[in-house]
């Protein structure tokens, strides 16, 4: 498989220190994505490793977000979007006709760029998806709510006002609530699309620490324009670039390698701030 120049499947040495054995949980193979006739991604192949944080970096319009939304099939909702290639999650093809999209999205949570709380109470924001996935017992829902709100460090801030509207929270709190809401469904994978970019530096720092604390328990794929942030939190980094009009994967590897000893000149120029 390594003969394919576009396949970034790493050998054991490159992938991690010998103490851990990286397991690919998402395998993307020859993924091409088009919006009507406009190509957005061209022939991308890479592995996402279990329990690790993978950062997708690159300039705007290089297909990072398209790549991210292809993983939980949010691309289904975009009219005119078509996909070639395979995405395997735990060796299961997610485009297989028998794949249950709702179950897939429960396993693969997503956090958007702007906080997207529902116009409901804080409590109901977390309870609604739980109820819809069959967890209706009040004590169980309450227990999960407390756990995930503690996980995101929001419990002490909101425990006495769980019934106020989630829209009354600050931006950073809303984003943490959205992360908690995704965590409540106990996903294996979290997709994050620039989760800090709409927040002020303080809130951004808190959310970044939160993401770091989730490492190991969840497999995280994060799109970020903040290279310093990618460098701080990610284990792996994938660098995308626009060639022609479509996004290409230029380089993928351990975060340290991408930032300190990139193989590609373009990557070096980008991470050093000379390009992009």
């Amino acid at each position: 498989m390594n003969d394919d120049p576009n396949a970034f499947t790493l050998g054991p040495l490159e992938a991690g220190p010998p103490c851990c054995e990286p397991q690919p949980v998402i395998q993307v193979r020859n993924l091409s994505l088009r919006y009507n006739t406009q190509a957005a991604l061209d022939n991308v192949s890479l592995d996402i490793f279990k329990g690790c944080i993978t950062a997708l970096i690159g300039p705007s319009g290089c297909g990072k977000t398209s790549f991210l939304s292809a993983i939980n099939r949010m691309t289904d909702l975009i009219p005119g979007c078509s996909i070639d290639g395979r995405i395997l999650v735990d060796s299961q093809n997610i485009h297989h006709p028998q794949c249950d999209v709702q179950a897939l999205r429960r396993r693969i949570g997503m956090v958007f760029q702007k906080p997207t709380p529902f116009p409901l109470s804080i409590r109901r924001n977390i309870a609604l998806p739980l109820n819809e996935h069959g967890i209706t017992q009040k004590t169980e829902v309450a227990a999960i709510t407390e756990t995930v709100l503690r996980d995101v460090g929001l419990w002490n801030e909101v425990c006495d006002r769980l019934d106020v509207s989630a829209l009354s929270l600050s931006g950073g709190q809303q984003q943490r609530l959205c992360i908690a809401r995704a965590l409540a469904l106990n996903p294996e994978i979290l997709l994050m699309d620039e989760p800090c970019s709409a927040l002020d530096p303080m809130a951004s720092g808190i959310v970044e620490d939160l993401i770091c604390s989730l490492q190991g328990r969840y497999t995280i794929v994060i799109v970020t324009h903040n290279l310093a942030q990618a460098r701080r939190i990610a284990n792996y980094a994938a660098f995308f670039w626009v060639r022609g009009h479509a996004g290409h994967l230029v380089e993928f590897g351990r975060c340290r390698h991408i930032f300190e000893s990139p193989r590609d000149e373009l990557t070096a120029a980008y991470v050093n701030g000379a390009r992009g």
């Binding site: 939980n72 999209v101 999205r105 429960r106 997207t116 529902f118 116009p119 609604l128 819809e132």
Partner: protein, 284 residues
């Protein structure tokens, strides 16, 4: 005269003109209200509301008229609201905005909205009264009104649903919620104020309708015994009193006052309802 003074003078004149127009518009409304109260208040009493009309409406009250009006309204709402709202859901949520199907449906609603009510009346008479053999009846009148209300209810509901931010739909989908769950728990409650507003406009239109009911629900002023009886709507009663009944002016005034107050009440009620619904969704 310096430039500043000129500018100030011009501003003053324009402001004055704007205030004058506003005053004029409100004046018309208050004049109308005053006229109604002045001409109708004396005739208005508890008996007027609870007694049936006698002597062609010159004496007695409007009890049977009110009952007929409410029944016609109920039939119209029960028939049109489910149809209109499900069409709106289909147009806003299920088919792409630019699809041919959506365009055809929207175009036919546009045309339907522009049809004069007398034409609906003739259609209702031909279809419901004669072809379906419902005769002059509350049922036939209500169904005719329902056809008339479809475009208003559908277009307001569609606009309301479209105004709900797409982020709700996306984040609901990302959490693995089904379309139905997103619709019932998030999108419909968020659109509730617009739905209620549309309902209100519809009820207002239906309450004030005369021409469409003339040939369908008829103008028998007896207390209706069933939906298949003919019944006279309030607006039609006012029309009849002022056109065909000499000496019917003061009951006509009083009936108009009742009609306007009814519209006002429905207005306030539905606004409260929409507000309460939104609050409840947030609190639970």
């Amino acid at each position: 005269m310096s430039l500043r003074v000129k500018q100030k003078l011009r501003d003053g004149v324009i402001q004055g003109l704007i205030y004058l127009t506003v005053l004029l518009v409100s004046l018309i409304f208050f004049w109308l209200l005053f006229d109604l109260v002045h001409g109708g208040a004396a005739h208005l009493s508890w008996e007027f509301l609870t007694e049936s009309p006698t002597d062609a409406g010159r004496a007695g009250g409007i009890a049977s008229i009110l009952v007929s009006t409410v029944l016609i309204l109920l039939v119209a709402m029960v028939a049109s609201v489910p149809l209109a709202w499900s069409t709106a859901v289909l147009l806003a949520e299920l088919v792409p905005a630019e699809s041919t199907f959506g365009r055809i449906v929207r175009f036919s609603l546009y045309v339907l909205a522009g049809v004069p009510s007398i034409v609906f009346g003739l259609f209702g008479h031909a279809f419901f009264s004669i072809y379906l053999e419902l005769g002059f009846s509350i049922l036939s009148g209500g169904l005719t009104l329902a056809c008339m209300l479809l475009p208003i209810l559908t277009s307001t509901a569609e606009a309301g649903l479209r105004a709900v931010p797409d982020t709700y739909r996306l984040s609901a989908a990302a959490l693995g919620l089904s379309r139905t769950a997103a619709l019932t728990h998030l999108i419909l409650p968020a659109a509730a104020p617009t739905l209620a507003a549309g309902l209100l406009i519809g009820i207002g239109r239906a309450l004030a309708e005369t021409a469409a009911l003339l040939f369908t629900s008829g103008y028998v002023d007896r207390m209706p015994g069933s939906l298949l009886d003919s019944g006279r709507a309030l607006a039609l009663h006012i029309f009849d009193l002022s056109m065909n009944v000499p000496g019917g002016d003061s009951p006509a005034y009083a009936s108009s006052l009742v009609l306007v107050s009814l519209l006002l009440c429905i207005n306030i009620l539905s606004m409260k309802l929409a507000y309460g619904l939104q609050r409840k969704k947030i609190m639970t």
